[in-house]
Symmetry: C2
Subunit: 225 residues, 2 copies
DNA sequence: GCTCTCGTTTAACAAATATCAAACGCGCAA
DNA sequence: TTGCGCGTTTGATATTTGTTAAACGAGAGC
């Protein structure tokens, strides 16, 4: 492992507020895994072997069932795949697939849980992290139950980061975005068409919104973070 | 507060594994709130004032948006409404409503967070609790995205506790169950009809299943806990 | 620069779900 | 008991979403 990898593991967002030796211990226990786009970091039904930190690239959490699959959430550089399966030592409910070529730090699950018991600051950091994800999941459930497809798309777009000129760059291809939003690619395409009256213009992965307040009203956007 | 209430707070499931003085401190900081059926413990958009423990009764977490409302999850006696809003000191994303007359222990959010920072065992217990809920939410998201209404109902029924004779007793009226499952009451009624070929018989709130393995196949039931 | 492939869009149609309306039935109070 | 109120069921219809198929278009490799 390169000193650079070591440093990236020690300074990952999850560990914010923990004493330096926690990061050092985790980095020492970690091994580096390179995944090509499409490869799986873990599979639903498996027993977790590692806690994965994303050093570079992007991974999607995938749910399978009833002969289909869906994307629950995607994570990028500097984030941890901190799934409850690892924390609780239960079987994975989701699989993780690399959306692009990625490099992961894999920390043995057993070491991580041992450290979790021993290091109060780590437990406290994990509480914060899990609580944040909880809110992301709650938003998704509210969206799925209360909003139609086009409204979910609008809501998703409004929550994305913009560049200086207000443009949004979609982090995934539309097929995947459709699965993230709980609809088919065909339906997503129609949803984009429905948003055109609000000045939503999509060119490739770049999206611009001209009537943002109209779009907010359309989807009853909830800006609470 | 009665000694009995005191004892119930100290022995709540959330605190399993924490030293006795943690429960004692929480119980001393708590005040008792009685809610009549239909009353709200907190409202989405509010800043959390308390962590609520359910001493008796049953509460539903309700999401509002786009002019409608939905039930995300329900909690009963001995459980805590351990929402991320309280942990992170953010605005509530959900409201909590008493489904029946209930008694709550309300612990000032500030005291709870302070104790969370000070007591490693509490942080560790909260990690476990949040992780468990995470899995409940993931199941719901997978259900909503991958399964049709009747399959979600089947899946829900198969996950419920049975009495000695194998009967299931529904914990809520059907109107609410419909919202929990992400459908209308009318659709739920038709979903029950769709399950009749598998020997699903509902009389009031009592439900029996005669062809359980058939039902499992029908909804592609995932028994992973 | 040119295909070739594969993701996206469009269209027609089918299935699932919601809506509206009315009938039903069960519990509760007079 | 009898009648009332409210939750549930049933039916007809509308809307939303998924499916199938085909056309389109942009990017990768030759």
């Amino acid at each position: 492992m390169s000193p650079d990898d070591h440093h990236r593991i020690e300074t990952i967002a999850l560990l914010e507020g923990t004493p330096p030796h926690v990061g050092r211990l985790l980095a020492e226990a970690a091994e580096i895994r390179a995944l090509a786009a499409g490869e799986l970091a873990f599979v639903a039904g498996q027993r977790p072997q590692f806690l994965h930190l994303i050093l570079s690239g992007r991974l999607a959490l995938i749910g399978e069932g009833a002969g289909a699959e869906t994307m629950v959430e995607a994570f990028g550089e500097g984030e941890a795949l901190l799934t409850p399966a690892v924390v609780l030592d239960r079987l994975y409910l989701l699989s993780a697939r690399a959306m692009i070529d990625s490099r992961l730090a894999a920390i043995p699950a057993e070491s991580f849980r041992a450290l979790l018991d021993r290091e109060p600051a780590l437990a406290r950091a994990v509480v914060t992290q899990l609580a944040r994800h909880w809110r992301v999941l709650i938003r998704q459930i509210k969206d799925l139950k209360l909003r139609a497809g086009a409204q979910r798309l609008a809501s998703y777009l409004l929550a994305q980061d913009r560049d200086r000129s207000g443009r949004i760059y979609l982090l995934m291809e539309r097929r995947l975005l459709a699965r993230r939003l709980g609809m088919t690619p065909e339906h997503l395409s129609r949803a984009f068409a429905q948003l055109r009256p609000f000045g939503v213009a999509a060119v490739g992965r770049a999206v611009t919104i001209s009537d943002e307040s109209g779009l907010r009203r359309f989807c009853d956007y909830d800006a609470v973070t």
